[in-house]
């Protein structure tokens, strides 16, 4: 009877390096070689990595903290525009522009995070939906700041002084951020704050009885999620060298949403897997934009009806003992 307790003591660690991660990490690192440094493929791969970061951010918010967010594209956009504008107007290095993107996105999340305490389920969904649409509208109409529908073109993208504009470089930069995000999410889930998020999700009443400040915790979940999505947005701006309002909006939000639903809520591997599937479908069906939405939309419906745990459920059956 005590052996499981001993097991728990032994197996707990806040480390990042685990055997199961080495293989995917190795492939990811070697990918440029595998695709013979083809710039187009590297661009697609970098985009996938960036979307995986957003998927993780959304999973943190919806999966782990149980806060419905239909406006993730809003945080993504804030981060992208912050980075682009800082780059285009002040030629700021990514080392400054990316943290700025994170900070501004987190700040913008207060708009929805603050009322999140009082808003349940549907209302929160509607408010976050409105947020995403409002941000897209601001991007389109506040021409003085965002150049309206002409978009923002970035100058040379530098990280710590080094020119990293090429898809190959951005791929590795994004990958580094993704790995850091994975480590962060992994550790978060297994420590006090991550538990507090899950507690608020599962039972606000019991959580507050344990001393968890529910309102503040929800705001924090929004802020962290927004910061991550903001960084991802900044990375996308750096990768594409150009952003315009049509990159952000309801369609983008729906795609992010699809990633975490297909991947299964509250699962790091699921979020990444979901991002991969959405990216692949988007690439295959890229010719007719509508087709990818149709496929993914139908997939979401099927998943919700028949496979509620998404990819996470499938992973769990394959490796029942793995911790997340």
């Amino acid at each position: 009877m005590v052996s499981s307790a001993v097991e728990s003591r032994r197996r707990f660690s806040l480390g990042v390096v685990r055997p199961t991660l080495l293989a995917p990490l190795g492939i990811a690192l070697a990918l440029p070689l595998l695709v013979r440094f083809n710039a187009y493929f590297l661009g697609v791969a970098a985009e996938f990595v960036i979307f995986a970061i957003v998927a993780l951010s959304l999973d943190l918010l919806m999966g782990r903290s149980g806060q419905i967010s239909l406006g993730q594209s809003g945080f993504f956009a804030v981060g992208a525009y912050t980075t682009a504008i800082l780059n285009a107007r002040s030629h700021l290095d990514l080392a400054v522009a990316l943290p700025a993107a994170a900070a501004l996105a987190a700040l913008s999340s207060l708009i929805v995070g603050f009322p999140a305490e009082r808003l349940r389920g549907h209302y929160l969904g509607i408010v976050t939906l409105g947020f995403g649409v409002a941000v897209a509208q601001i991007a389109l109409k506040w021409s003085a700041l965002t150049n309206g529908d002409e978009g923002v073109r970035l100058e040379t993208v530098r990280l710590f002084g080094v020119d990293v504009g090429a898809p190959l470089h951005m791929y590795y930069v994004a990958l580094a951020v993704l790995v850091a995000t994975i480590a962060f999410s992994f550790n978060l889930a297994r420590t006090r704050l991550g538990r507090a998020f899950a507690a608020v999700r599962d039972s606000e009443i019991a959580a507050s009885a344990m001393g968890v400040p529910v309102a503040r915790t929800k705001m924090l979940a929004f802020a962290i999620s927004a910061a991550l999505a903001g960084v991802a947005g900044g990375l996308l701006a750096a990768l594409d060298g150009f952003i315009a309002p049509e990159d952000f909006g309801i369609t983008q939000t729906l795609l992010f949403f699809a990633m975490v639903i297909v991947g299964g809520l509250d699962s790091i591997a699921g979020a990444i897997g979901g991002a991969l599937i959405v990216e692949i479908v988007s690439q295959i069906a890229a010719a007719t934009n509508g087709l990818s939405l149709l496929i993914l939309g139908s997939t979401i419906v099927v998943v919700a009806l028949y496979f509620p745990s998404g990819l996470k459920g499938i992973f769990a059956r394959l490796a029942p003992d793995a911790e997340r």
Partner: protein, 291 residues
């Protein structure tokens, strides 16, 4: 200052659309406790049906509108019967996921079938404008009022004086008791969804001449419709209608005096303020949780 009456009247005309949108959402929500996030997309599909009727089949406006409404009705019934029925006991999150999935799928289908280029939607009713003193009522405005009045009136009649309406009110109050009384839950739900989506279709058809026909045309109106529904307390029809009209007037005031192009953002901001003061809208009830 003389333009205020005009702004108010135009705002009311615009608000009629929001009211219709909110009505559709509320009808569905009251019956099934599900918020139909796909409401806009479903309306768009119906609008395309109307467009087809008008430009290809050369049907008169009334028939085209009827076609859209019928299509919407059929779509709503199918979606409820085939998909949502299984979700009656699922969590809010799951229901939201399915309606969002439908949103994507329908949007994608429409885009794939009809393309993303905006199409001009023919003028529905090219009668002349009416003038009341300094206020001009454009044909579009009159039409909006007329359709809102007709549909809202019809809806009220349905709910107050028919068996179906009674059934719908019953399942809103107490599903179990309603079934004990012999109400067919499945039939009533299907019809509620049919009516709700039919309303979405009507909304889209009325909006199309202004927004032009494109898959994303209802995105803004969907938001306004939700705002209206929330302001109206997410419960009663009168709340939805009043909410819609109020939002329309405020939106028009903002457009004229503050910032013509950021009105949705500002209205959204106002919604947040309202929700902060009254988390359940103006006519809503607080729902307590038992421990």
């Amino acid at each position: 200052m003389e333009i205020i009456p005009q702004i108010v009247v135009s705002g009311l005309a615009e608000g009629s659309l929001f009211a219709l949108a909110a009505l559709g959402i509320i009808v569905i929500f009251n019956a099934s406790q599900i918020v139909n996030f796909a409401q806009g997309a479903m309306g768009v599909a119906a609008a395309y049906v109307a467009w087809f009727s008008l430009t290809v089949l050369h049907l008169p406006f009334v028939l085209a509108l009827a076609a859209a409404i019928t299509f919407g009705f059929a779509l709503g019934v199918s979606v409820e019967t085939l998909l949502l029925r299984r979700l009656q006991d699922a969590s809010t999150m799951t229901q939201m996921v399915v309606t969002l999935g439908l949103f994507m799928a329908i949007l994608g289908a429409v885009g794939a079938l009809c393309g993303y280029n905006p199409r001009a939607f023919p003028e529905l009713w090219s009668q002349h404008s009416f003038e009341f003193g300094s206020v001009i009522l454009r044909p579009q405005d009159t039409l909006n009022f007329a359709i809102l009045g007709t549909l809202a009136g019809g809806l009220t009649l349905l709910f107050r004086h028919t068996k179906l309406g009674l059934a719908m009110r019953a399942i809103t109050q107490d599903r179990f008791a309603a079934r004990l009384m012999g109400v067919s839950l499945t039939r009533t739900l299907a019809l509620a969804w049919g009516i709700g989506v039919a309303l979405a279709g009507a909304t889209a058809v009325l909006a199309a001449p202004v927004t032009t026909l494109t898959p994303g045309m209802m995105d803004s109106i969907l938001i306004y419709g939700f705002v209206a529904a929330i302001v109206g307390g997410f419960g009663t029809f009168s709340g939805a209608i009043v909410g819609g009209l109020v939002v329309g007037v405020i939106d028009n005031l903002v457009k004229t005096f503050l910032a013509p192009e950021l009105s949705l953002t500002i209205v959204f901001g106002l919604l947040l303020l309202v929700l902060y003061v009254r988390p359940n809208g103006f006519f809503g009830r607080r729902v307590a949780q038992k421990v």
